[in-house]
Every structure is written in structure tokens, then in C-alpha cells.
């Protein structure tokens, strides 16, 4: 390869470059297979002339040319540091010097610049090549492209940040659940039950979102999961019916909806259709005329329970239903305390997540 360039190169190249190439030819003559190996390995490599100022490059393999985008002609004779992204980067220069001196322990990471101006990180390993008298005549440097590694590090850092953000928000949610339960005048026993039941509702919503890789959750699944503890422990499964499309909601909306429906069910168990042996609940939603602003209508209808009056004070449950559901559905919530039982009507537009598909 080097020989192919020779006739053309001989016309234009400076004295030192020609001499450098002669050294390579000499190397090739003496240790042919090693030079072929160095030329064809996937590891980017160069040799430099240690005796000249700036360590000019006297050999560069194909991988090095691929990595940097330069031609061999452009690289040979250049100073070793010509690829530095920031030529006056003292830290990099000092690191390279330490690597040249043999005082760096495990290679250095340097930001380099390709011919097209793009930058890349490379791990650089430098070993001296000594003559018989022990004097350093050349340096042998290899470069490991860290682009992919750095990209993975960035991704993992961003995952850690995202996880941290989610954990902090979850802790704040838990704090709010506990804080609001303790603010009520309920007995310690009731407070404990309330906190536990809300935390378990939150936990079920997390499970649902985890099954969907935290991308979205379907409304049918959200409601089924929120009502699951009431259908199991109270053997109410035949008294609750849920019908509607599994329209997708964002994780944030899914978490709030899960707690909202949990609160409606808790209320039904305490005071409503699930507080006696015969009441039942139907939850149904469907889409009306697509042109209307709030074209979905969801109805939570309790029948067969004792008549209930509107609550006198507005606590956590009514807040999560009236304000939480309205906010996350982006629509209106109306509660009707009928003789037959509570009817909660929710009108809302298609969720952003379902529009995106």
C-alpha cells in the first residue's frame, strides 16, 4: 500500500517524509508479516519518529485513516498531536506527554477531530520502540474509538437521571398520601389502612406501567387494576362490570387515574354500592361524535346501594376524583348523588397518547 503511493509521493513530499517512508519500507523488509498485520488490523495505529520535534507520524494504518477521514498522504509527516480537537488543550497535551513518558498507567482519553470537523473521543495507548542501545527511536500509538462507549455512558446517565426524577416524584407522592391521611381526624387504625390501601393502589399502577415499559397504559387496564383488590377481597367480581376501549394514557395520567378510580371504589365500599350485599357498579365509556370537544363519555354508575349524600368536607378522595381525574383526562367530572347511588360522569377528549397512537 505504501509502495503504491511512492511514485506520486516522491514528486511532492518533503525530505523528512520520504525518509520516514524509507524507514517503513525498511521495517517492511525486515518484519513483513508484522507490518501487514499493523496495516490491516481493525485497531487504528500510527508510528511516530521519536527523534524529531513533535513526533511526526511515519506510519498510519488503514483503520487510522478510516477513523480520522484523512488520506495517508495527509497524515504522514504531521505532528502526532495534529488531530487534537483543541490544539491548545493543556490537559490533553499533558496527558499525551505523560503517556509518551510512560508515566500514565492505563492509556488516556483524548478528544480528537476528524478531517470533516466532527469530534470523537479515543483511548490512546503509546509504547516506545527502542533501538539496540535502549534509546527511543519511535513511538507506537494505538487508538480505540470511544464514540459508542461515550454514547452508552450518556444513555445510561440519562436513564439514571430519569429514574432519579421518577423516584423523587414517587417519594413526593407517598409523602402527600401520608401527609394528607395524618391531617384527617381518623383513628390511627383507619389512617394506617387508608395509607396502606393508597400505596398499594400506587404500586399496582406502577406494575401496570412496568408491563408496558413505562410508555403508556390502557384505560380498561387502569380501571381493572384499580378495582382488582375490591373484586378479590370483597368477592365483588360479579358486581362490577367494566366496558370500554383500552385507550392509551401517558404514565403520569395513568398513575393519577389509578388513584382516582381507587378512591371511587373505596368510597363505594365504605358508603356506596359495595357497602351492602346487593349493590353493583358499571363503568362504561365510549366515543360520541368525534367533532365535539369532549367526545368521550365515561360513566361510573352505582346501583342498589344505600342512598348517599354529598360529602360534607372535601378530602383526598374527592380531590383525586374531581380535580385529579379532570386534570389527567383533560375534561369535566360531574358527580350526581342519586337515590339509586352515585353516578360520576366524565367527559373528555381523546388522550394525547391515543392520538399519537
Amino acid at each position: 500500500m505504501m509502495n503504491k503511493n511512492m511514485p506520486e509521493a516522491a514528486l511532492s513530499k518533503s525530505g523528512p517524509q520520504v525518509a520516514a517512508e524509507a524507514v517503513i519500507d525498511h521495517l517492511g523488509d525486515n518484519c513483513g508479516p508484522f507490518v501487514v498485520a499493523a496495516e490491516t488490523t481493525r485497531m487504528a495505529m500510527v508510528f511516530t519518529d521519536a527523534k524529531r520535534n513533535g513526533n511526526p507520524i511515519i506510519f498510519a494504518n488503514n483503520s487510522f485513516l478510516e477513523l480520522t477521514g484523512y488520506t495517508r498522504k495527509e497524515v504522514l509527516g504531521q505532528k502526532f498531536n495534529f488531530l487534537l480537537a483543541h490544539a491548545a488543550d493543556d490537559v490533553s497535551l499533558a496527558q499525551i506527554k505523560a503517556e509518551l513518558d510512560g508515566s500514565a498507567k492505563s492509556g488516556v482519553e483524548i478528544l480528537y477531530c476528524r478531517k470533516d470537523g466532527t469530534e470523537f473521543w479515543a483511548a490512546v495507548f503509546i509504547s516506545p520502540v527502542k533501538d539496540e542501545a535502549g534509546g527511543i527511536v519511535q513511538y507506537f500509538a494505538s487508538f480505540v474509538d470511544l464514540t459508542q462507549h461515550k454514547e452508552e455512558m450518556k444513555q445510561s446517565q440519562s436513564l439514571i437521571n430519569e429514574l432519579n426524577h421518577r423516584v423523587k416524584n414517587t417519594l413526593a407522592t407517598v409523602q402527600s398520601i401520608v401527609w394528607q391521611a395524618l391531617r384527617s381526624s381518623a383513628s390511627p387504625q383507619l389512617m394506617r389502612q387508608t395509607i396502606e390501601s393508597r400505596l398499594l393502589a400506587l404500586s399496582r399502577s406502577h406494575d401496570l406501567l412496568t408491563r408496558g415499559n413505562w410508555k403508556s397504559a390502557g384505560l380498561h387496564d387502569i380501571i381493572s387494576d384499580a378495582l382488582e383488590p375490591f373484586t378479590i377481597t370483597h368477592a365483588h367480581s360479579k358486581r362490577i362490570s367494566i366496558k370500554g376501549d383500552n385507550i392509551r394514557f401517558s404514565p403520569k395520567a395513568a398513575l393519577a387515574l389509578g388513584i382516582g378510580f381507587h378512591e371511587l371504589a373505596t368510597n363505594a365500599v365504605k358508603y356506596g354500592a359495595l357497602s351492602n350485599a346487593s349493590g353493583s357498579i358499571t363503568v362504561e365509556w365510549s366515543r360520541g361524535k368525534p367533532n365535539l370537544d369532549n367526545d368521550y363519555t365515561l360513566e361510573w354508575r352505582e346501583v342498589g346501594g344505600p342512598q348517599i349524600d354529598p360529602p360534607k368536607h372535601h378530602g383526598f378522595g374527592s380531590g383525586m376524583v374531581k380535580r385529579g381525574l379532570a386534570l389527567e383526562l383533560g375534561g369535566e367530572i360531574n358527580l350526581h348523588y342519586l337515590r339509586n347511588g352515585l353516578v360520576c360522569v366524565m367527559k373528555f377528549p381523546p388522550p394525547v397518547d391515543s392520538i399519537r397512537g
Binding site: K168, N169, A172, I177, W179, G319, M320
Partner: protein, 132 residues
């Protein structure tokens, strides 16, 4: 307890009802009677343009959107405010690095401390009338 919050109006901009309800409860316990809330950039900006607030708390992120437009509006209307966020790293944008930040979760003592500092700062600033 002397009620320094009497006749003060506080704005909370927060997109999570469950967090918002606790913040409202904490403010009520501190003696604050006038609390306004907003969940989106648009509704917060509309409130700031039409009502007077003594102080505000602004979630840095509202439904995945930066709330920086609201921050600019609060600055324009001279409403002292603190950010609230679930992020642990320092992520204040340029020019806002001196803003107090409530990192979630936060307790009522810290909430109280930040709020009284905001109201104190507000007293030092020239008042700009709300919409006349």
C-alpha cells in the same frame, strides 16, 4: 403564631394534583387563605396577567414541557417565586441560578422557610400593579 400570610395571595403551578393538594394543605396550615393553582403554562400565564400574587411556586416541568415561559412572566410582573422540582441535579436555566428551589419531596418547614424568604424579598422589590 403570628400570621404573616394573612392577606397574602400565593400561586402554585403544579401539574400533579396529589402534590398540589399537599402544598395547598401546608399553606392552609400556615394560615394562608388565598391560594390559586394552575396546572399548565397557559393557565398559569393567564392568572399572572390578570391577578396579583405575593409569591409563587413553579414546577420546572409541566406535563413534559419546560415552564420557563411562566418564569419569564413572573419576572415581568415582579412576582417573587421559587421553583419546585423532582430533579436532584442543579438544572436552573441561565439567568435563574439564584432562584430558590424546593426539591421534592420537601417538608413543611422548608416550604415555610422558602415562602417567608420570598415574601421578604418581595417586600424589598418595587411593586408593580396587577392589571388595572
Amino acid at each position: 403564631m403570628d400570621n404573616y400570610l394573612q392577606h397574602r395571595k400565593i400561586l402554585i403551578v403544579e401539574d400533579e394534583i396529589i402534590i398540589l393538594m399537599m402544598m395547598e394543605g401546608m399553606l392552609e396550615d400556615m394560615g394562608c387563605e388565598a391560594i390559586a393553582t394552575a396546572h399548565t403554562n397557559d393557565s398559569a400565564i393567564a392568572l399572572i396577567q390578570t391577578q396579583f400574587f405575593d409569591a409563587a411556586f413553579l414546577d420546572m416541568n409541566l406535563n413534559g414541557n419546560s415552564s420557563s415561559d411562566v418564569a419569564d412572566m413572573l419576572v415581568e410582573y415582579h412576582v417573587p417565586f421559587a421553583y419546585s422540582t423532582g430533579n436532584s441535579i442543579h438544572d436552573n436555566r441561565d439567568g435563574f441560578c439564584n432562584r430558590p428551589v424546593l426539591r421534592k419531596p420537601f417538608g413543611d418547614e422548608e416550604f415555610n422557610r422558602v415562602l417567608s424568604a420570598l415574601l421578604h424579598d418581595g417586600a424589598m422589590q418595587p411593586k408593580r400593579n396587577a392589571v388595572l
